[in-house]
Protein backbone atom coordinates (compact mmCIF):
# COMPACT_ATOMS: atom_id res chain seq x y z
CA UNK A 1 0.00 0.00 0.00
CA UNK A 2 1.30 3.42 -0.84
CA UNK A 3 0.02 6.96 -0.78
CA UNK A 4 0.60 9.00 -3.93
CA UNK A 5 0.12 12.55 -5.00
CA UNK A 6 -2.31 12.90 -7.87
CA UNK A 7 0.65 13.88 -10.10
CA UNK A 8 2.18 10.48 -9.44
CA UNK A 9 -0.91 8.52 -10.46
CA UNK A 10 -0.63 6.41 -13.60
CA UNK A 11 -3.00 3.96 -15.30
CA UNK A 12 -3.08 0.32 -14.10
CA UNK A 13 -2.55 1.17 -10.42
CA UNK A 14 -5.23 -0.32 -8.16
CA UNK A 15 -6.94 1.80 -5.50
CA UNK A 16 -6.49 0.44 -1.96
CA UNK A 17 -8.93 2.90 -0.40
CA UNK A 18 -12.16 4.40 -1.70
CA UNK A 19 -11.65 8.00 -2.76
CA UNK A 20 -14.06 10.64 -1.54
CA UNK A 21 -14.13 14.30 -2.47
CA UNK A 22 -14.20 17.24 -0.05
CA UNK A 23 -17.94 16.82 0.48
CA UNK A 24 -17.51 13.20 1.40
CA UNK A 25 -19.06 11.96 -1.84
CA UNK A 26 -17.52 8.84 -3.31
CA UNK A 27 -15.46 9.46 -6.45
CA UNK A 28 -13.92 6.03 -7.05
CA UNK A 29 -14.29 2.78 -5.14
CA UNK A 30 -11.39 0.76 -3.78
CA UNK A 31 -10.34 -2.08 -6.07
CA UNK A 32 -10.72 0.06 -9.20
CA UNK A 33 -7.87 -0.16 -11.70
CA UNK A 34 -6.99 3.38 -12.72
CA UNK A 35 -7.30 4.59 -16.32
CA UNK A 36 -6.32 7.95 -17.82
CA UNK A 37 -9.99 8.85 -17.69
CA UNK A 38 -10.21 8.09 -13.97
CA UNK A 39 -7.18 10.25 -13.30
CA UNK A 40 -8.77 13.12 -15.21
CA UNK A 41 -11.93 12.71 -13.12
CA UNK A 42 -9.88 12.79 -9.92
CA UNK A 43 -8.21 16.03 -10.98
CA UNK A 44 -11.57 17.46 -11.88
CA UNK A 45 -12.96 16.67 -8.44
CA UNK A 46 -9.90 18.28 -6.85
CA UNK A 47 -8.60 15.05 -5.32
CA UNK A 48 -4.99 15.62 -4.28
CA UNK A 49 -3.90 12.24 -2.98
CA UNK A 50 -4.77 8.59 -3.35
CA UNK A 51 -3.76 5.28 -1.81
CA UNK A 52 -2.90 2.37 -4.08
CA UNK A 53 -2.05 -1.31 -3.69
CA UNK A 54 1.56 -2.39 -3.63
CA UNK A 55 4.49 0.01 -3.63
CA UNK A 56 4.71 1.17 -7.24
CA UNK A 57 6.87 4.19 -6.52
CA UNK A 58 10.44 4.07 -5.30
CA UNK A 59 11.17 6.86 -2.87
CA UNK A 60 14.55 8.03 -1.65
CA UNK A 61 15.92 5.01 0.10
CA UNK A 62 17.47 6.30 3.32
CA UNK A 63 14.64 8.33 4.75
CA UNK A 64 12.08 5.73 3.79
CA UNK A 65 13.91 2.89 5.55
CA UNK A 66 14.26 4.91 8.73
CA UNK A 67 10.54 5.67 8.88
CA UNK A 68 9.57 2.05 8.24
CA UNK A 69 11.94 0.80 10.91
CA UNK A 70 10.50 3.30 13.36
CA UNK A 71 6.99 1.95 12.71
CA UNK A 72 8.23 -1.64 13.07
CA UNK A 73 9.76 -0.72 16.40
CA UNK A 74 6.49 0.73 17.69
CA UNK A 75 4.80 -2.60 16.94
CA UNK A 76 7.64 -4.80 18.23
CA UNK A 77 5.69 -5.88 21.33
CA UNK A 78 2.25 -6.02 19.70
CA UNK A 79 2.29 -9.64 18.50
CA UNK A 80 1.34 -11.04 15.10
CA UNK A 81 -2.46 -10.89 15.12
CA UNK A 82 -3.71 -10.18 11.57
CA UNK A 83 -5.50 -7.05 12.80
CA UNK A 84 -2.23 -5.69 14.18
CA UNK A 85 -0.48 -6.57 10.93
CA UNK A 86 -3.11 -4.65 8.96
CA UNK A 87 -2.83 -1.56 11.15
CA UNK A 88 0.95 -1.67 10.88
CA UNK A 89 0.97 -2.13 7.11
CA UNK A 90 -1.49 0.71 6.63
CA UNK A 91 0.58 3.07 8.74
CA UNK A 92 3.69 2.05 6.82
CA UNK A 93 1.92 2.54 3.52
CA UNK A 94 0.92 6.06 4.53
CA UNK A 95 4.43 6.82 5.73
CA UNK A 96 6.32 6.39 2.47
Amino acid sequence: MQRLDIDEAIPSLVLAVTIKDKNGDIVLMKGVELTEKHIAVLRNRDVKRLIVEGAPLKREKGAEEAVLQEVDKRFSAAGAHPVIAKIKDTIKGLAV
Binding site: V17, A63, R74, F75, S76, A77, I87, L94
Partner: protein, 290 residues
Protein backbone atom coordinates in the same frame (compact mmCIF):
# COMPACT_ATOMS: atom_id res chain seq x y z
CA UNK B 1 -5.98 -7.17 48.28
CA UNK B 2 -2.76 -8.30 49.98
CA UNK B 3 -0.98 -6.07 52.54
CA UNK B 4 1.59 -4.70 50.06
CA UNK B 5 -1.20 -3.76 47.65
CA UNK B 6 -3.00 -1.92 50.42
CA UNK B 7 0.20 -0.15 51.39
CA UNK B 8 0.92 0.97 47.82
CA UNK B 9 -2.70 2.04 47.42
CA UNK B 10 -2.39 4.21 50.53
CA UNK B 11 0.73 5.84 49.20
CA UNK B 12 -0.74 6.41 45.76
CA UNK B 13 -3.92 7.94 47.07
CA UNK B 14 -2.37 9.96 49.87
CA UNK B 15 -4.66 12.96 49.80
CA UNK B 16 -2.25 15.66 50.80
CA UNK B 17 -0.03 14.91 47.81
CA UNK B 18 -2.86 14.69 45.31
CA UNK B 19 -3.23 17.62 42.94
CA UNK B 20 -5.62 20.20 44.20
CA UNK B 21 -8.56 21.23 42.13
CA UNK B 22 -9.00 25.02 41.96
CA UNK B 23 -12.15 26.35 43.63
CA UNK B 24 -13.84 27.35 40.38
CA UNK B 25 -13.16 23.93 38.86
CA UNK B 26 -14.52 22.34 42.00
CA UNK B 27 -17.72 24.33 41.65
CA UNK B 28 -18.08 23.22 38.05
CA UNK B 29 -17.57 19.59 39.06
CA UNK B 30 -20.28 19.98 41.73
CA UNK B 31 -22.69 21.51 39.23
CA UNK B 32 -22.27 18.82 36.59
CA UNK B 33 -22.80 16.06 39.11
CA UNK B 34 -26.46 16.87 38.58
CA UNK B 35 -27.35 15.65 35.09
CA UNK B 36 -29.72 18.59 34.72
CA UNK B 37 -27.00 21.13 35.34
CA UNK B 38 -27.47 24.64 34.02
CA UNK B 39 -25.49 25.12 30.84
CA UNK B 40 -25.49 28.88 31.46
CA UNK B 41 -24.01 28.56 34.90
CA UNK B 42 -21.34 26.03 33.89
CA UNK B 43 -20.38 28.11 30.83
CA UNK B 44 -20.07 31.27 32.90
CA UNK B 45 -17.72 29.55 35.33
CA UNK B 46 -15.60 28.09 32.53
CA UNK B 47 -15.37 31.49 30.86
CA UNK B 48 -13.84 32.90 34.03
CA UNK B 49 -10.93 30.52 33.59
CA UNK B 50 -8.73 31.22 30.60
CA UNK B 51 -6.88 27.90 30.63
CA UNK B 52 -10.04 25.84 30.89
CA UNK B 53 -11.85 27.88 28.24
CA UNK B 54 -8.98 27.36 25.82
CA UNK B 55 -8.87 23.62 26.47
CA UNK B 56 -12.59 23.19 26.01
CA UNK B 57 -12.57 25.15 22.75
CA UNK B 58 -9.53 23.28 21.43
CA UNK B 59 -11.24 19.97 22.06
CA UNK B 60 -14.47 20.86 20.33
CA UNK B 61 -12.64 22.40 17.37
CA UNK B 62 -10.65 19.27 16.64
CA UNK B 63 -11.31 17.97 13.13
CA UNK B 64 -12.41 14.73 14.80
CA UNK B 65 -15.58 16.55 15.83
CA UNK B 66 -16.23 17.24 12.18
CA UNK B 67 -17.93 20.60 12.74
CA UNK B 68 -18.05 22.79 9.70
CA UNK B 69 -17.45 26.11 11.35
CA UNK B 70 -15.18 27.06 14.21
CA UNK B 71 -16.76 27.13 17.65
CA UNK B 72 -15.76 30.34 19.45
CA UNK B 73 -18.35 30.39 22.23
CA UNK B 74 -17.75 28.43 25.41
CA UNK B 75 -21.47 27.92 25.80
CA UNK B 76 -21.73 26.06 22.53
CA UNK B 77 -18.66 24.02 23.39
CA UNK B 78 -20.30 23.01 26.67
CA UNK B 79 -23.41 21.85 24.82
CA UNK B 80 -21.37 19.90 22.26
CA UNK B 81 -18.94 18.29 24.69
CA UNK B 82 -21.28 17.43 27.54
CA UNK B 83 -20.79 17.25 31.28
CA UNK B 84 -18.68 14.09 31.40
CA UNK B 85 -16.09 15.34 28.97
CA UNK B 86 -15.86 18.63 30.81
CA UNK B 87 -15.37 16.72 34.01
CA UNK B 88 -12.63 14.72 32.25
CA UNK B 89 -10.92 17.90 31.10
CA UNK B 90 -10.99 19.41 34.60
CA UNK B 91 -9.69 16.28 36.30
CA UNK B 92 -6.94 15.69 33.77
CA UNK B 93 -5.96 19.35 33.94
CA UNK B 94 -5.53 18.99 37.69
CA UNK B 95 -3.53 15.80 37.34
CA UNK B 96 -1.35 16.98 34.50
CA UNK B 97 -0.98 20.38 36.10
CA UNK B 98 2.39 20.04 37.79
CA UNK B 99 3.31 16.81 36.04
CA UNK B 100 2.87 17.52 32.35
CA UNK B 101 6.47 18.16 31.44
CA UNK B 102 7.62 15.13 33.42
CA UNK B 103 5.46 12.94 31.21
CA UNK B 104 6.23 14.21 27.72
CA UNK B 105 3.62 13.19 25.20
CA UNK B 106 1.13 11.74 27.67
CA UNK B 107 -1.35 14.59 27.38
CA UNK B 108 -1.22 14.42 23.57
CA UNK B 109 -1.57 10.64 23.74
CA UNK B 110 -4.62 10.94 26.00
CA UNK B 111 -6.17 13.61 23.83
CA UNK B 112 -5.48 11.57 20.69
CA UNK B 113 -7.03 8.43 22.19
CA UNK B 114 -10.08 10.44 23.18
CA UNK B 115 -10.55 11.78 19.66
CA UNK B 116 -9.90 8.42 18.01
CA UNK B 117 -12.18 6.63 20.47
CA UNK B 118 -14.97 9.10 19.75
CA UNK B 119 -14.49 8.61 16.02
CA UNK B 120 -14.57 4.81 16.38
CA UNK B 121 -17.51 4.79 18.80
CA UNK B 122 -19.57 6.78 16.31
CA UNK B 123 -18.43 4.58 13.45
CA UNK B 124 -19.24 1.39 15.38
CA UNK B 125 -22.63 2.82 16.32
CA UNK B 126 -21.97 2.58 20.06
CA UNK B 127 -24.03 4.39 22.67
CA UNK B 128 -22.26 6.58 25.25
CA UNK B 129 -19.80 8.20 22.82
CA UNK B 130 -19.11 10.99 25.29
CA UNK B 131 -18.35 8.61 28.16
CA UNK B 132 -16.06 6.60 25.90
CA UNK B 133 -14.19 9.77 24.95
CA UNK B 134 -13.90 10.74 28.60
CA UNK B 135 -12.65 7.29 29.56
CA UNK B 136 -10.07 7.53 26.78
CA UNK B 137 -8.97 10.96 27.95
CA UNK B 138 -8.40 9.53 31.45
CA UNK B 139 -7.30 5.98 30.57
CA UNK B 140 -3.65 6.38 31.61
CA UNK B 141 -4.12 8.57 34.72
CA UNK B 142 -2.61 5.77 36.79
CA UNK B 143 0.74 6.51 35.14
CA UNK B 144 0.64 10.09 36.40
CA UNK B 145 -0.10 8.96 39.91
CA UNK B 146 2.72 6.40 39.90
CA UNK B 147 5.15 8.99 38.60
CA UNK B 148 4.13 11.49 41.24
CA UNK B 149 3.72 9.32 44.31
CA UNK B 150 6.30 6.59 43.78
CA UNK B 151 9.18 8.58 42.36
CA UNK B 152 12.03 6.06 42.68
CA UNK B 153 9.91 3.17 41.53
CA UNK B 154 8.81 5.24 38.53
CA UNK B 155 12.42 5.74 37.46
CA UNK B 156 13.03 2.02 37.72
CA UNK B 157 9.88 1.26 35.75
CA UNK B 158 11.06 3.56 32.96
CA UNK B 159 14.47 1.87 32.91
CA UNK B 160 12.98 -1.61 32.77
CA UNK B 161 10.60 -0.59 29.99
CA UNK B 162 13.35 1.03 27.94
CA UNK B 163 16.08 -1.56 28.38
CA UNK B 164 13.77 -4.54 28.09
CA UNK B 165 11.81 -3.25 25.12
CA UNK B 166 8.58 -3.97 26.99
CA UNK B 167 5.42 -1.99 27.56
CA UNK B 168 5.32 0.19 30.62
CA UNK B 169 2.49 -1.91 32.05
CA UNK B 170 4.80 -4.95 31.93
CA UNK B 171 7.58 -3.00 33.65
CA UNK B 172 5.12 -1.84 36.32
CA UNK B 173 4.16 -5.45 36.95
CA UNK B 174 7.81 -6.36 37.40
CA UNK B 175 8.80 -3.44 39.61
CA UNK B 176 5.79 -2.62 41.80
CA UNK B 177 3.49 -5.60 41.07
CA UNK B 178 0.68 -3.18 40.39
CA UNK B 179 -0.25 -1.67 37.06
CA UNK B 180 -1.48 1.77 36.00
CA UNK B 181 -4.89 0.51 34.88
CA UNK B 182 -5.61 -0.64 38.43
CA UNK B 183 -4.11 2.51 39.95
CA UNK B 184 -6.26 4.59 37.59
CA UNK B 185 -9.32 2.70 38.76
CA UNK B 186 -8.58 3.57 42.39
CA UNK B 187 -8.44 7.22 41.50
CA UNK B 188 -11.61 6.96 39.41
CA UNK B 189 -13.35 5.37 42.39
CA UNK B 190 -12.14 8.13 44.64
CA UNK B 191 -13.50 10.66 42.20
CA UNK B 192 -16.80 8.82 41.92
CA UNK B 193 -16.69 8.63 38.13
CA UNK B 194 -19.50 6.79 36.33
CA UNK B 195 -19.09 2.99 36.03
CA UNK B 196 -18.46 3.03 32.31
CA UNK B 197 -15.51 5.40 32.74
CA UNK B 198 -14.17 3.35 35.65
CA UNK B 199 -14.37 0.22 33.54
CA UNK B 200 -12.66 1.83 30.56
CA UNK B 201 -9.75 2.91 32.76
CA UNK B 202 -9.54 -0.43 34.54
CA UNK B 203 -9.76 -2.58 31.41
CA UNK B 204 -8.13 -0.57 28.65
CA UNK B 205 -5.37 -3.20 28.41
CA UNK B 206 -7.63 -6.18 29.02
CA UNK B 207 -11.10 -5.33 27.67
CA UNK B 208 -11.92 -9.04 27.31
CA UNK B 209 -12.11 -9.25 31.09
CA UNK B 210 -14.53 -6.37 31.35
CA UNK B 211 -18.09 -7.51 31.87
CA UNK B 212 -20.55 -4.69 31.53
CA UNK B 213 -18.71 -2.25 29.30
CA UNK B 214 -16.78 -4.62 27.11
CA UNK B 215 -17.27 -2.66 23.88
CA UNK B 216 -16.43 0.68 25.45
CA UNK B 217 -13.21 -0.69 26.94
CA UNK B 218 -12.37 -2.46 23.66
CA UNK B 219 -12.83 0.76 21.70
CA UNK B 220 -10.36 2.60 23.93
CA UNK B 221 -7.96 -0.36 23.81
CA UNK B 222 -8.07 -0.24 20.01
CA UNK B 223 -7.62 3.56 20.04
CA UNK B 224 -4.57 3.13 22.25
CA UNK B 225 -3.01 0.72 19.72
CA UNK B 226 -3.67 3.08 16.82
CA UNK B 227 -2.41 6.19 18.64
CA UNK B 228 0.80 4.41 19.61
CA UNK B 229 1.17 2.89 16.17
CA UNK B 230 1.03 6.35 14.63
CA UNK B 231 3.53 7.57 17.19
CA UNK B 232 1.35 9.73 19.41
CA UNK B 233 2.60 8.39 22.70
CA UNK B 234 4.22 9.12 26.02
CA UNK B 235 7.92 9.01 25.23
CA UNK B 236 8.72 6.44 27.91
CA UNK B 237 5.98 4.11 26.72
CA UNK B 238 6.01 4.17 22.91
CA UNK B 239 5.17 0.52 22.18
CA UNK B 240 1.75 -0.52 20.92
CA UNK B 241 0.17 -3.25 23.05
CA UNK B 242 -0.97 -6.61 21.66
CA UNK B 243 -4.59 -6.92 20.60
CA UNK B 244 -7.06 -8.27 23.13
CA UNK B 245 -8.90 -10.77 20.96
CA UNK B 246 -12.10 -11.02 22.98
CA UNK B 247 -12.38 -7.25 23.12
CA UNK B 248 -11.76 -6.97 19.41
CA UNK B 249 -14.33 -9.67 18.61
CA UNK B 250 -16.97 -7.82 20.67
CA UNK B 251 -16.75 -4.88 18.30
CA UNK B 252 -17.75 -6.98 15.30
CA UNK B 253 -15.57 -4.97 12.96
CA UNK B 254 -14.90 -6.40 9.50
CA UNK B 255 -11.15 -6.81 9.11
CA UNK B 256 -11.52 -5.44 5.60
CA UNK B 257 -12.47 -2.08 7.12
CA UNK B 258 -9.23 -1.63 9.04
CA UNK B 259 -7.32 0.02 6.21
CA UNK B 260 -10.10 2.58 5.71
CA UNK B 261 -10.37 3.24 9.43
CA UNK B 262 -6.64 3.84 9.86
CA UNK B 263 -6.43 6.01 6.73
CA UNK B 264 -9.31 8.18 7.96
CA UNK B 265 -7.75 8.55 11.39
CA UNK B 266 -4.34 9.51 9.98
CA UNK B 267 -6.01 12.10 7.76
CA UNK B 268 -7.83 13.58 10.76
CA UNK B 269 -4.63 13.68 12.79
CA UNK B 270 -2.94 15.45 9.92
CA UNK B 271 -5.41 18.32 10.18
CA UNK B 272 -5.55 18.40 13.98
CA UNK B 273 -3.61 21.40 15.28
CA UNK B 274 -2.42 19.59 18.39
CA UNK B 275 -1.49 16.30 16.76
CA UNK B 276 -0.22 17.06 13.27
CA UNK B 277 3.29 17.53 14.66
CA UNK B 278 3.51 13.79 15.22
CA UNK B 279 3.41 13.22 11.48
CA UNK B 280 6.86 14.53 10.72
CA UNK B 281 7.56 16.29 7.42
CA UNK B 282 8.30 13.86 4.62
CA UNK B 283 8.68 14.33 0.90
CA UNK B 284 8.97 17.85 -0.35
CA UNK B 285 8.18 19.29 3.05
CA UNK B 286 4.53 19.53 2.17
CA UNK B 287 3.71 15.88 1.97
CA UNK B 288 3.65 14.42 5.45
CA UNK B 289 5.00 11.07 6.43
CA UNK B 290 4.41 9.27 9.66
Amino acid sequence: MNPTDAHIKDRLLNIKDLPTIPAVHGRILKLIEDVNYSIEEVSRLIERDQVLSTKVLKLVNSPFYGLHSEVAAVRRAVVLLGGNLIRGVILSTALFGGMGEKLPGLWDHSYCCSMVAGFLARRFGLASVEEIMTGALLHDIGKILIKQQLKEAAVEIENVARSGGVLMIEAERQVIHITHDKVGLWLAEKWNLPDIIKNIIAYHHTPGRCGTHLKAAATVHFSDIIAKGIGVSYSDDPLAPALDEKGWASLGVDEGDIVDIVVEIVDLIQTDKMLSKYLSGGRGGEQKSI
